[in-house]
Symmetry: C2
Subunit: 223 residues, 2 copies
């Protein structure tokens, strides 16, 4: 994170375990003491239609002081999750997972499911999974607008193939148009790089992805 010169981290439970519960605030403080800002937690799965399971996950995020849950709920459990969103006042950013996702392949499927729900239930658009679902990420951003609470960015050499992930800038993802759409909707959230390849040595591709995205931002005159 220091090499990338960003303090902004969307972490998963692999980085901040859910148990033991009393260690969650201690571990979250360690991140903050190191200069990091915890912007979102997840992806967290909500697949049990059970208050105790859902509450334990909201308690975890609350204890960590994190304002957004990147979530993968089932449609069935969503009304129950909504109760906790209201009770805890924590945003739920539903993460679409592409064509093999039976619940929410694209943000448009999420939109349909949550349109009448509390507005703190919104979106984490994953531009890669969205593209693979045959939906234009730029259009998806414009459609979900003010309910976009987080975003996962990645790039694909082939917009249909999950296995074709490359560093951002090396594929077909329309990064400038995505950033323009974020500006147009007045997005105040974060764009989280989700770099899922080269696990043995991810930094070169991560550095390359950040450099490309910062170049796009500079080229667009955004800062």
């Amino acid at each position: 994170m220091k090499q990338l010169k960003t303090p902004l981290l969307n972490l998963k439970d692999v980085h901040l375990p859910m148990k033991p519960a009393d260690q969650v605030p201690v571990r979250a403080a360690e991140y903050r003491d190191a200069g990091l800002t915890l912007t979102a937690a997840g992806t967290i799965y909500f697949d049990k239609d059970d208050d105790a399971d859902i509450q334990s996950k909201f308690d975890y995020v609350k204890a960590a002081g994190i304002p957004v849950i990147v979530a993968m709920p089932t449609r069935q459990v969503l009304p129950r999750v909504e109760k906790f969103v209201k009770q805890y006042d924590i945003k739920l950013a539903i993460h679409n997972h592409g064509p093999e996702d039976k619940q929410f392949p694209s943000p448009l499927d999420v939109l349909e499911a949550i349109k009448n729900m509390d507005h703190r239930i919104g979106f984490c658009i994953d531009v890669g999974h969205t593209m693979r679902a045959g939906v234009d990420p730029v259009e998806a951003i414009k459609k979900v607008g003010p309910r976009l609470y987080d975003m996962h960015i990645k790039d694909l050499a082939d917009g249909k193939l999950k296995e074709s992930q490359v560093a951002v800038g090396d594929g077909v993802m329309p990064v400038p148009a995505i950033f323009r759409a974020l500006v147009d909707i007045g997005y105040k959230g974060n764009v989280d790089l989700e770099y899922e390849i080269n696990a043995d040595d991810p930094m070169p591709g991560v550095v390359k992805s950040f450099a490309y995205m910062r170049g796009v931002i500079a080229g667009m005159g955004l800062k």
Copy 2:
């Protein structure tokens, strides 16, 4: 070069030795057989006011089939070099080297020296050395306009300090404004990354520099 996905190479004599002369076309062909385009040779120094010395360097570039010499002539020898520019019809792109350069600290010093010379004598603006000389690289590009035949790009954390070189995008160099100026003057030449740091492991910074510049180009909608 393949990892960077560019075939465009401005090489130095360390990459293509001047001697033995009969090997120059053979070695140049090896580069071309590998898919590379030799865009410029240099920096080549012209510091002897002597036809034989100058001719040997023009013969070298001609034998290699390279259209542009990135050159560091002394002011004294420049009129003699001009003869060979005319005779060989090879462009001479004079490379400024910053405040410690007694001949040509900035492109503006070159401009003064060559304004009445053959138009095939022009500029290789080095944006780092130009900035260190206290001249805005963007203004320099606009001033030299159609006589810009090559460009060396780099970045500096401190615009006064040669030793502060960083990957392009990590410093104070106004890369979008530089690219905009190149578009505005109708520049048809190349922008050569001159990455002079981390000699033991240059690729990470080179990759980062290319990613940033490609991001800027994408962000500006240039391609």
